[in-house]
Symmetry: C2
Subunit: 440 residues, 2 copies
């Protein structure tokens, strides 16, 4: 058996994950709508042999655009332009099952998979915010209903991806038969949320199904991941929490009839890299000094569902009993962080500014590599979602200085193992549910 | 005033517009899902200084895939990959207002416009087929209702495109102000079909609004075009019909308060090009011989809403009183064609095989150029949608042999006039409805 290998995604966010990144001289705020910037990032990640680039998304303008560089590009459109200038790296786009139709998403992800020769992945979200519902003329459905819809949504989408068998297209010019129509199937789906006849009007994707990614952290969310996801994104602050989450998801996957290795767990990490510890801490401090406190307080108030704008910045959080629907795990993470480290509001917003609840780690390449190795070897991670604080420099630093350390330690690939995203993740190509077993 | 100039789009369709193209040795049927094929076509069109590439679309598998090369890529995803390898050419994608949400389409076209630096266009369709409805769990809405929805849909989409004023993003690193939030607007749309709060979470597109294209031919469809479209696609067989349609649309535009030059009319033409007439006719015959009669009869039966499979191929059409909802103009076109030229069913399907009702013209580059010039100068066209029978060769032939003739005659550009699709079409950039007039 080949040694277990780390998986690393570049989680790309505008000009960086730090909320004040756009103010830092190492980047340029106009890049948030610049396709060349993202193409460049993907090329850097590919140079570092990273598994994929990942784009988060929501269908509303979130956060306070007065103080943050928002209003960028839609992920599927953007990844297609990135596919055109890369060859190996996976392309994972976020799309919501709450505000889309399965036919459209099945088709767009199938197209991206064809365009990229098998490199597409879908981060399935159920859309927790109310603002998103109001862009679609409805009230936000309840958490449980969103996940029920997501389940059926995924069933329809995978049926549509299977609606053309792999060998349906025969292209026989001589006889004039382009496709064997016995191998193209109406899916005839009919369920509580969807009625979809099919077939899809795009041929089966090269990967069979694009990679399925998920990031739920509620019990419903984790069960959804355990049933369907092949990669799970998560925000975990401590090794112990990471281990607990890791064991929990793997156990749920096993309970759902899958093998633990069928689901890859990827906590987020925002590495603030310096060639010395001092240099790393200096960059961290520079970013901290660019934070607009009013922005951080507003963000924190939104997460906690409590207005903190009149509360003194240099005092700890007031007593809070959270009721925000759908974001309980993030609320708990924030409250735990504040109480564990005894933080004032000012300190708490500085911690969140770097990674919105993801782990932020400032240090040398070796220190970052040590932490990655520890979590990987201590049962807290199969890999990481790398969240550079400032882009492109934070990604370049990771690729040029951390990746070589991980490679030298035998933890990370020197070359891509396969041709598709699935192959690089070591995941099987799904069988087609409509294909008849060959009669021997 | 600069001389009136032709506009030319490359209407790209898989491996060619002729239904038997995939069987012809000049192409390769595997190209229908090959992004490099389409990127190559766009580069050829750009070399010929064409205004744009255009992709048709539907949200169901139409036609008989047993005998035709179907199941290709979704247009928006594909055009984004094309944007990445081109610089000047416009990128027009078809998308339906009947089976989409305005927020999603506003965002995707805004993204494509950013990605391409102002080259996106949207061909608005209302989706005439029943098969499409069945992929979205509903019965096909009535023709009138589809157009009513389309009207409101476009209202919402343009509001969303305007929701960020052009100068909303100030990017002031010093003060920490990224955007002037007084210039980002909730659109607060509320109407019979849609309730959308906004703003969009993508900044205003470079063109203000991507180019609006339409191809309706019913009275509702033509009125929609007259109110909203900046380019109109149409299928016209004779100069007289072309002139009538042209005058009709321009008159409707004027009645809607616009100037005739605000709307560019582009009939389709499928040029079968040979260096001699003989060579052109030979290619036409080769393609004709590859037609599968059963396929043609099935297509014709679908258009006419009558089962013709038991009718003798070498006799004329039986008496038909068409009732098919939403396709009246195409039915009329087909019946006129059959009676005008006294065609048998076999002859009729051969005529339709080339252009599905669009004009097919076999001849030398000079003959094609003559016809283009005649329609352009005789008030039947502002330009053409070029529909090569076989791809890529049919497009290469047009660009290398017809374009130079049109250029030499002073009818077509030697260089792109502008940077954006709008600029090349000579159309104004729309004002932002939310921007306050500057106080002097
Ligand atoms: C790394 C990571 C990325 C995420 N990206 C998105 C995103 O792009 N869009 C989104 O709506 N939610 C995103 N989420 C939120 C999750 O999808 C999920 O809604 C959240 O973790 C709450 O879990 P629950 O839905 O099970 O309650 C992300 C979460 C994590 C950990
Ligand atoms: C050049 C051209 C391209 C068209 N492309 C599409 C298309 O991609 N998808 C589609 O559903 N309809 C397409 N149509 C059909 C028209 O959108 C429209 O439905 C049809 O002309 C009937 O007009 P009506 O809807 O006003 O009755 C096209 C028509 C023409 C002339």
């Amino acid at each position: 058996m080949s040694p277990r290998r780390l998986h690393l995604n570049a989680f790309l966010m505008g000009v960086g994950h730090h909320e004040a990144a756009w103010r830092h001289p190492r980047t340029e705020p106009a890049l948030v709508t610049d396709v060349k910037h993202f193409q460049n990032l993907a090329r850097i990640a590919e140079r570092g042999k990273l598994d994929s680039v990942f784009l988060a998304d929501g269908v509303a303008l979130w956060g306070n655009v007065r103080h943050n560089a928002l209003g960028g590009l839609e992920p599927l459109t953007l990844l297609s332009a990135i596919a055109a200038v890369t060859e190996h790296i996976g392309l994972i786009a976020t799309a919501s099952t709450t505000y889309n139709e399965p036919f459209h998403l099945a088709r767009k992800f199938a197209s991206l998979d064809h365009i990229s020769n098998g490199r597409a992945g879908w981060n399935i979200v159920t859309s927790a915010s109310e603002a998103e519902a109001h862009n679609f003329g409805i009230e936000r459905p309840a958490h449980r209903d969103r996940y029920a819809r997501a389940d059926e949504f995924l069933e329809v989408v995978t049926k549509l991806w299977d609606s053309w068998e792999d060998d349906a297209v025969v292209k026989d010019r001589e006889s004039g038969i382009y496709a064997d129509t016995d191998k193209i199937h109406a899916v005839e789906h009919s369920g509580p949320h969807f009625a979809v006849k099919g077939p899809l009007n795009t041929q089966r994707p090269p990967q069979g199904h694009p990679l399925i990614v998920q990031a739920g952290s509620s019990p419903d969310g984790k069960d959804f991941a355990a049933r369907h996801a092949e990669a799970v994104f998560t925000a975990q602050q401590t090794l112990a929490e990471g281990q607990e989450f890791y064991a929990d998801i793997k156990a749920r996957a096993v309970a759902a009839g899958r093998r633990p290795e069928d689901i890859v767990i990827l906590p987020g990490i925002s590495p603030i890299i310096g060639s010395t510890e001092r240099e790393a801490l200096r960059l961290e401090r520079e970013l901290e000094e660019l934070i607009i406190p009013a922005y951080g307080v507003a963000q924190l108030s939104t997460i906690l569902g409590v207005d903190l704008s009149d509360h003194p910045l240099d005092e700890p959080l007031p007593e809070i009993s959270p009721e925000t629907e759908g974001q309980q795990s993030r609320v708990k993470l924030v409250l735990d962080l504040a109480s564990r480290d005894n933080l004032t509001i000012r300190q708490l917003i500085a911690r969140l500014a770097g990674g919105r609840g993801h782990r932020v780690l400032a240090g040398t390449p070796e220190l970052i590599a040590d932490q990655i190795q520890e979590w990987f070897e201590q049962g807290a991670a199969d890999g990481f979602n790398i969240m550079p604080p400032v882009l492109p420099s934070g990604l370049t630093d990771f690729v040029d200085h951390v990746v070589p350390v991980l490679q030298a330690r035998g933890l990370f690939r020197y070359e891509y193992e396969g041709r598709t995203l699935r192959e690089n993740y070591g995941l099987a190509r799904p069988a087609n549910r409509y294909a008849e077993l060959a009669v021997v």
